[in-house]
């Protein structure tokens, strides 16, 4: 990493994941669902791993979720995040897509990264969270969650 222009890791989409990032750019959260057996699929893949039906359908979800687990980051981290510590990374399970768990940062209601260990926000197992959109230091839009 160039210390003069620190940037966060950049997501690199491929043919199987591009629709997810295209939706994110429109501030929509989508998850694949098998049109044949109804299975929710995460992370994205080209076939349903249960019934092997092709082209799982990208389906809009609300992003309402529950906290499954979390960590709080401390140094040493990438330079770009040094002055933002501590912050919380959540593992959430989506209400609309049972069994689908995603990673996201804890943000405020406006979608800005919170400098916190999560205590003030009441982060705990099962805490309800809502989807927000965070624009990172490289201008990349990312799904993120705020306490409901």
């Amino acid at each position: 990493m160039n210390a003069a222009t620190p940037l966060p890791p950049k997501p690199v989409a491929d043919r199987d994941t591009q629709p997810f990032w295209d939706a994110v750019a429109e501030r929509r959260l989508v998850v694949q669902r098998c049109s044949k057996c109804g299975r929710w699929i995460w992370q994205p893949r080209p076939l349903c791993p249960t019934c092997h039906a092709a082209d799982p359908v990208w389906t809009d979800v609300s992003g309402d979720a529950r906290v499954v687990s979390w960590t709080v980051l401390h140094p040493p981290v990438l330079t770009v995040w040094h002055d933002k510590l501590p912050f919380v990374i959540l593992l959430v399970e989506l209400d609309d897509a049972p069994g689908v768990r995603m990673i996201g940062q804890l943000v405020d209601a406006a979608g800005d990264l919170l400098q916190t260990d999560g205590t003030a926000q009441g982060i705990d197992f099962g805490a309800g969270v809502s989807l927000r959109w965070r624009v990172d230091e490289a201008g990349q839009t990312l799904p993120a969650w705020t306490v409901s």
Binding site: P11, V72, G99, L142
Partner: protein
Amino acid sequence: MTIRNKNRQPVVAGVHGLPYSKDIGMTERHSGALAILGALDDAGLTVNDVEGLTRYVWQPTTEMEMARVTGIPNLKWFGAQDYGGGAGPPTVALACAAIELGLIDVAVVWRSRNRSSGGRPWAGQMLAEGQDQFERPFGIVRPADGIALIVRLWMKQFGWTREDFGQVAITVRGHANRNPMAMMRAKTLDMEQYLASRMIAEPLCLFDNCLETDGALAIVLVAAERARDLNAKHPPAYVTGYALGSGPEVYAMTNYYGERLGDSPNAYVAPELWKNTGLKPEDIDVVQIYDAFTPQVPLFFQEFGFCGEGEGAQYLKSDECIPYNTSGGGLSEAYVHGFNLIVEGARQVRGDSPSQVEDVKHTVVTGGNVVPTGALVLSKEPW
């Protein structure tokens, strides 16, 4: 049941490790070659005897490069095993399987890594591809970040505490204090220091994380019928068996998308290892557990059936707990992707460990249990 031919049983005939350091002052090509040559010397063999070389996918020098550097004239068997620190026992297994099949008689497995002076592999990460695109941009960059989320779940599920993890860190530090090779040979650790240490990725603190080390180690594997004629410097350690496992919906380091949240791939390795070896936990005298992070230790004991599910931390405190990570492990001897655990396993069987356990018949060595992985059993006696 696996097929067993006494003549073809793989034997660890030689081991070697270079002194560990923060800056070893040579390339991984150089240190790896010295480790390979040292292990061959320990076994009473030369490069002309070597027919197979296997490595970790993360090893920056290929089998061909090491053959060129050391002058191995021809390789009949080679290959690499993936998934970071999960690759140790699987890389040994890849060589053992070829020996058991009769394809080769002599193989060398090595790991050389400048994990300290070479910098952190994640420090320069800019592009997040594959599974990483859904994790790294969100802050899951260091190995500790990925596992911290799972550790918090284990703590909730099993009632584990930070003091339980501290007990692991302190126990292996005690072993390191008896090991003249260990990076932490001169530094003691107590619970007060452990609890006061800085956080890295909550709930993991500094002493829950392994070291960052430059190191190079190798072992020589020989078919039993060939091993009988060797002029080796130490008694042999017999490979009684091994197993690999992934489990369903597996991800490296971030294994939290599947149905069985909290399981590690070792939950799938363990029953195969007991089946393949015909052994059970009560037969094992000492273990070398992959310990990039302290919570992997109590998880090992419960996933391999040394105690019941959720009882790993209680087991560690009980009188039944067998010695583990007797060289200091990744936490306090050196972090060389678990290869020092393989060498220490062989030493316990041979009788030249710095913390020698009396009358060792069998020892288990494992690979990293938050990635696809494997385990093996080394024994005093043949099949």
